[in-house]
């Protein structure tokens, strides 16, 4: 006997993500899901951002990794509100991970929350966590073909960052190819070139963050 179902397979995750989103919005916390391949500079970008925004803004970080507390230790130099999630075998964060981590953070005392996803250009994209916006990071050392090879992250991100611009003269990376591939897949997405290490391009990233946070009606302005 056939039974018609026609339901979203990730319905359970999406329902949990909606609950997370409600909690975060009620607490006035602007939340970004930071996605990118291992080594693209997700942690370095969040560190550089925290360095600029704290203590004027109260920032929290949820860090996803298969194992180790290393990223949490790095973030803890800038904020006390850090929760490390070790997914074990899991190659991405899911809404239930974030819900458990949120239970360990005093949300009303935060203005901004960064969720650093597990290093991966594919799996994290399909799982809603309850964030306001998704941020996709590529890097020059990763090669100029990564956007074309990973259309889902290009299409689903609210902004794309090209990190490690300080290395661009040392690696084979054609910016035109990279940007043309993005323009083809998602002509509306902004692209910012930056270096989390040198600070190049960081102003544009922080301005984008400020504008988008204001657009969501978050509770106070960024002092960048």
């Amino acid at each position: 006997m056939q039974v018609q179902v026609v339901q979203n397979v990730l319905k359970m995750n999406d329902e949990l993500a909606a609950q997370n989103r409600n909690r975060l919005r009620n607490a006035g916390v602007f939340t970004l899901d930071i996605m990118g391949a291992p080594g693209c500079g997700k942690t370095a970008l969040i560190e550089a951002t925290l360095k600029r925004l704290t203590p004027q803004l109260r920032c929290g970080v949820i860090v996803g990794d298969l194992t180790t507390q290393r990223d949490a230790d790095r973030m803890a130099r800038f904020t006390d509100h850090v929760v490390q999630i070790n997914t074990g075998k899991g190659c991405h964060l899911e809404a239930h991970h974030v819900r458990q981590a949120m239970d360990r953070i005093d949300l009303p005392s935060l203005d901004l929350l960064f969720i650093e996803n597990v290093g991966n250009l594919i799996c994290p994209v399909g799982f809603d966590l309850g964030q306001d916006l998704k941020v996709g990071i590529f890097c020059t050392a990763g090669g100029d073909d990564k956007a074309a090879k990973h259309p889902y992250i290009v299409c689903e991100s609210s902004i794309l960052l090209l990190n490690k611009m300080d290395l661009i003269s040392h690696v084979p990376f054609n910016r035109r190819i990279f940007r043309d591939d993005i323009a083809r897949l998602n002509p509306d997405v902004p692209v910012i070139e930056l270096s989390a290490i040198t600070g190049f391009g960081l102003e544009a990233w922080l301005n984008w963050l400020q504008n988008r946070r204001e657009a969501t009606g978050a509770k106070k302005e960024l002092a960048v």
Binding site: M1, V3, N8, V9, M12, P151, R184
Partner: protein
């Protein structure tokens, strides 16, 4: 290996959809190309859940493309870089579908009376 998480979610949702007393035999899934689901990996993940007696029927949808220059819409199994008109201003439409369409179940075993094991009618 996002296929494992997706396989778990499919099994969970399918089990919730099984009528009382029936046995789940197969599930039918449709996935958009954005999901980057590898059918072989998906079958391995499914087997990894210990569900060898439940068939997983997975259909991957083709890319739905639209050309910004001439407006043509077409389908293609691999992600095209160019419209037949020559323009490279082509973009995918949708593609992130991931749905459990239907399940196949064995009908529930009819009740049998405790003394002679005859099949009881529905009204009994």
């Amino acid at each position: 290996m996002h296929e494992l998480s997706i396989a778990e979610a499919i099994l969970d949702l399918a089990r919730r959809s099984v009528p009382r007393g029936a046995t789940l035999r197969s599930v039918r899934i449709v996935a958009g190309p954005m999901r980057a689901i590898d059918p072989d990996c998906m079958q391995i993940a499914w087997q990894g859940l210990g569900q060898a007696n439940i068939a997983l029927n997975l259909s991957i949808l083709p890319w739905q493309m639209q050309c910004a220059a001439c407006g043509l819409q077409w389908e293609q199994t691999d992600l095209p870089q160019q419209c037949p008109c020559g323009s490279t201003h082509v973009r995918p439409l949708g593609g992130d579908e991931l749905q459990l369409l239907s399940i196949e179940v064995d009908d529930p075993e009819p009740k049998r009376c405790s003394s002679c094991k005859c099949k009881l009618s529905k009204t009994s």
